[in-house]
């Protein structure tokens, strides 16, 4: 796997239309981006479409990447995830849930690998998430990782949608304060 610095160089080369750099960038990052969107879309075909669109956007907007604002992989994953959320919101949760090919998301299985190699930014964010009430911690993380809508979250937490709305807003503002934004 390439280092963040190498990825920054690759993106800079991609911004100049360097095809070989684009191919290397794709090879180095596709599995991460695909993992992110597959988790949300849970369908190989949809996830592959989204990945395709995301890399087209990365090719076209590589010049706008600002390494001062985010790491390359975070920037790329944001583009892909954003697109995945758009798709899942437009499609509506129900139709995806009912797809026979929808994959099960092992939402609750802890993974022992997760402890290692966390960036400082991640530790800091998790510290702030960890200060929320337990239910709200789960709420925020389920929303982020699984791309769940307020309706899905309301069903999961057996709570009215409006309550979820209030919790989400409050949680985000608490995180903001905790991060000192």
């Amino acid at each position: 796997m390439l280092t963040p610095a190498e990825l920054v160089w690759l993106i800079a080369a991609v911004a100049k239309g360097d095809e070989a750099a684009f191919e290397r960038l794709y090879a180095a990052t596709r599995a991460k981006l695909f993992g992110v969107v597959l988790r949300i879309l849970r369908r190989q075909d949809l996830a592959e479409e989204v990945i395709q669109e995301a890399y087209v956007k990365i090719w076209n907007s590589a010049g706008q990447f600002n390494p001062g604002l985010s790491s390359p992989i975070t920037w790329m994953a944001s583009i892909a995830r954003n697109r995945a959320i758009d798709v899942v919101r437009k499609k509506g949760e129900l139709s995806i849930e009912e797809e026979p090919t929808a994959m099960e998301v092992a939402a609750d299985s802890p993974d022992p690998l997760a402890r290692r190699e966390m960036s400082e930014e991640l530790k800091r964010l998790l510290e702030c998430v960890g200060r929320l009430e337990p239910d709200r911690q789960k709420l925020v993380l389920l929303a982020y990782y699984n791309g769940w809508s307020r309706e899905q979250l309301a069903a999961k937490f057996e709570t009215p949608v409006n309550t979820v709305k209030t919790w989400l807003r409050r949680s985000m503002m608490d995180i903001r304060e905790c991060l000192g934004l």
């Binding site: 993992g35 985010s70 437009k90 993974d111 934004l181």
Partner: protein, 291 residues
Amino acid sequence: MMAYSEDQIALAAEYALGTLDADERAQVETMMSVDKDFTAIVESWQFRLGVLNQMVGSVEPGPEVWGRIRAAVGLAEAQAALVLPEAPPVAPPFEEPAPAADTSNIIHLSSQARRWRNIASFTTAIAAALVALIAVGAYQPDLLPDGLRPKPRTQLVEVKAPPVAAVPSAQYVAVLQKEGGSPAFILTVDGTTRNFTIRKVGATPEVGKSFELWLISDKLPQPRSLGVIGGGDFTARPVLASYDADLINAATYAVTVEQAGGSPDGRPHSAPVFAGKLIQTVPPATSAPAK
């Protein structure tokens, strides 16, 4: 930068979190297109939250995706699909008859494992939403209330009843053994539900040590823990559900000796002691196992 109301900031945050509905998302995108400062707020949220993706596991997209991307950005005809560098040879999953030991595997595996251990990689595990909490717990357990402290990983996960299937699903078996030794573990995987069970048949860990099961695939940057093999004869877990069928079929399954309770950092600490690959024993009634 002009001052934004708390409503606007919350909207930006929820956009980045992903919980807005389609109309609200469109509204935020319109605001972004006319207001650079608001765009900056949204992006800042996206990058703040984006670090959570460090905990999402990598999954390989299909090989044809690259060709489509090249075509979509107007580049020349794609070359053959990219292959991961140094990919270890993957034996065809179903051709060999059952437990014949692939002895070359053992040595090969230990060098593989060493190499993987050395790769400083920022891709990590398949992230479950709650993994982050467990990570908080591991990193700073005091931040978590009691109820959310991570449970010991040796705890067995109850296998969910498989979904009602109209047809019997394919069954796969791997015999994990030492070079020239007798079978030590039998791993079975249900092709549809991807639940697996591992039965200990001839191995006992030393006192103070645990056996841990790993999935090794050329599609993953390093071995993935499938958990500590419990004290009883059976350990059954649904954790394979998040991997695709091809990866599960082609992977090597290996057992290492770890400190009691399992590897503390998610990496193997011994060369594989027992290893094997899956062999299909019951073909699916219709087609391939569920993707």
